[in-house]
Every structure is written in structure tokens, then in C-alpha cells.
Symmetry: C2
Subunit: 194 residues, 2 copies
């Protein structure tokens, strides 16, 4: 796959944002990572915030594309949640810099863009709340609070963006399967819930 | 309680760090939040990094003081984990700015200080791995991987520092109890684990 210059800039920037944070990264740092002059970067991007915005939008698009169709599939809640977890972990581990920038650096966007991201995050989180609520309604899951449980699930999953090492001994799919098992153990209705 | 000037500086700084991040906060911002001249702040602190270091050390001390004695208590793993969760959530919700600065801004410390924080975090995480391992050994918990399960538990708990609102409808103790229930549902050995 041929990467466009714009894509290279976003990749270099998101790696730097993950490592040292958005505020501590300068346009010059991004240019240096690509062996470019700082000035020539401005032929491709309007501002550092503009690069962050592209990264954040791309990440949000990826999470939506991976998880959205599964969330809408209407499959039983336990299977749906398992597939959503696998898809979510796949997006995180597939591009750690992009995911970490989305998860941690989005607050440095302008207020309007931040509001737009907030709205997308809400919509995304609602999918996790919905699958939990559906499972509770169907009797597959214990009567847990969908909002709090959804936050716990997403926080646990997003932590993977911080500790995951691609060269580590655990494959992303195995991690996703273990997390899904962990959540489903927790959520499934048991005889003591009756 | 009379707050020292130094404590006021740390409180103002940690609130700003939580809101906009360490890098985007200047010494002048901290001074302004306290109605001080930027220069007069330097009578109390050597540098912005020095303030962050005090905040991070204070947070680490609080987590250790709250969770350490419980972790060493030798009580059965399910009760111990529940008490550790309550203590950990209490530290987070008791001072959100301090906890969030510790959790998210510590990477802006100098390499030596970062290494010191990393060592303390490792030691702290080990307490969660140990209670899980103890529960597995005693047959209270299913044979789960203590490392991964410990990461999932701590990531879920630390997410509270991001979404918790003191003026919200949920009390910190109730949130802690719900999280502990969620984790224990997941961890407890069931007949299908045999």
C-alpha cells in the first residue's frame, strides 16, 4: 500500500502524540520524524491541531466501521458483545498511535471539534450500553446498570492502548478473547441472580 | 484544615493539569488561578515539573496508604479485593485532580522521576495481581491470568477519574461497591470452571 504524504504525516504525528503528548509535540518534531523541513510540512497541513483532527476523525471512523455493523446486527447480546470487543481491540492494536491519540489527546482540539468528538463518543458508548441492556432484557445478563457497566467495559478495553506491546507475547486476538470472557463471566445471569 | 501555600499551589496545578494537561499549563496559569504574580510562585516551587512531581508523589503515597495495609492483611481474596477496590476508588474520587494528574501526566516527568514512578506503579499493580493469584490458588477465583485480569481491573477503576462528577447522582461508595460486584462476578469460580 502506498502511503500518501498526508498519511505519513499523521502516522508520525500520532506516534509522537502517543509518546509525549500533543502539547509537547511541535510541528518541527513531526517534520523531523519525516526528515522534512518544518516549513514544508505546511504544504500538507494547515496546523498541528488540523493533524490531530484528522487523526481523531480517522480513529472514530475506524471504530464506527468495525463496531457499528456488529452493534446493529441484532445477534444475541452475548455473541454481539463478544464480537464488539474483538472489533474494538482490533482497532486499538492495529494502530496504537492513532487509537491513543484519539483516546487521550482529543481534548486539545478546539471547542467546536471537541464537541463533535464528544457527540461521536457518546453515540459509540451508547452501542455498548445498548448491547448490555438488550442482554439484561433478554435474561442473558444479570440486571446490571448498563451505563456503569458499559463505562467499566470500555475503560478496561481502552487501557489496552496504554500497555499493549506489538512485540509482546500476547496476540491481539487472544487478548480480545480473554477480555470478552472476563466481561461475559461478569455479565451473564447466574442462578444467584434469580 | 489550614492549607499551606504549597498545598494550594498543588491543588490549583492539579486541577489545571486534569483539565488541559501538564504541557498546556504554564506556571503563569497556575499563578493566575491563585491570584498571584507568576514570579512570586517561584518562592514556593522550583519549576512546573517540581509541582507535578509533588502531586504525583502525593497521589502515589495516598494509593499506597489506602490500599497497602489491606493488600497485606491476609484476608480471603474476595473480601480483600473488594476492600482494595473501595480504597482505590476512594483515593480517586477524593481528589480527582490529584489522581488524574498522577494517572495521565506523570509521563511528563524527567526520565529519572518517571523511572521512580514506574517502579512504584509496578509495585502497586503487583498487589492486584497478588490478590487475584491468591484467590485462584485458594479456589475462590476461576483460573484466570492474574496479570491481564489485574490490568483490566485497574484500567476500569482508573477510568472513573475521567468520567466521575462529584455533583453527579452516584456516590463514590456506591460506585466502588458496583465495580467490586462486577469484578467478583467475573472472578469467582463457578461450577462451569470445574
Amino acid at each position: 500500500m502506498v502511503e500518501t504524504r498526508r498519511q505519513q504525516i499523521e502516522d508520525a504525528a500520532s506516534a509522537l502524540f502517543r509518546e509525549r503528548g500533543y502539547s509537547a509535540t511541535s510541528v518541527r518534531d513531526i517534520a523531523q520524524a519525516l526528515n522534512l523541513q518544518g516549513g514544508s510540512l505546511y504544504a500538507h497541513v494547515a496546523s498541528k491541531e488540523d493533524v490531530l483532527w484528522s487523526i481523531v476523525e480517522r480513529a472514530a471512523d475506524r471504530f464506527d466501521a468495525a463496531v457499528g455493523p456488529i452493534a446493529e446486527s441484532g445477534t444475541p447480546a452475548p455473541d454481539r458483545l463478544r464480537a464488539m470487543v474483538r472489533a474494538h481491540v482490533g482497532v486499538i492494536t492495529g494502530d496504537l498511535g492513532n487509537a491513543a491519540s484519539f483516546l487521550h489527546e482529543w481534548r486539545f482540539l478546539s471547542p467546536e471539534r471537541r464537541a463533535a468528538v464528544n457527540a461521536r463518543r457518546d453515540r459509540y458508548e451508547r452501542r455498548f450500553r445498548r448491547v448490555i441492556r438488550d442482554g439484561v432484557t433478554a435474561g442473558d445478563f444479570a440486571p446490571l446498570d448498563p451505563r456503569m457497566t458499559g463505562m467499566a467495559v470500555l475503560s478496561a478495553l481502552n487501557g489496552i492502548a496504554t500497555w499493549y506491546r506489538p512485540a509482546g507475547d500476547r496476540r491481539a486476538d487472544d487478548i480480545a478473547a480473554d477480555y470478552a470472557d472476563l466481561f461475559l463471566r461478569s455479565l451473564r445471569r447466574t442462578s444467584s441472580d434469580d
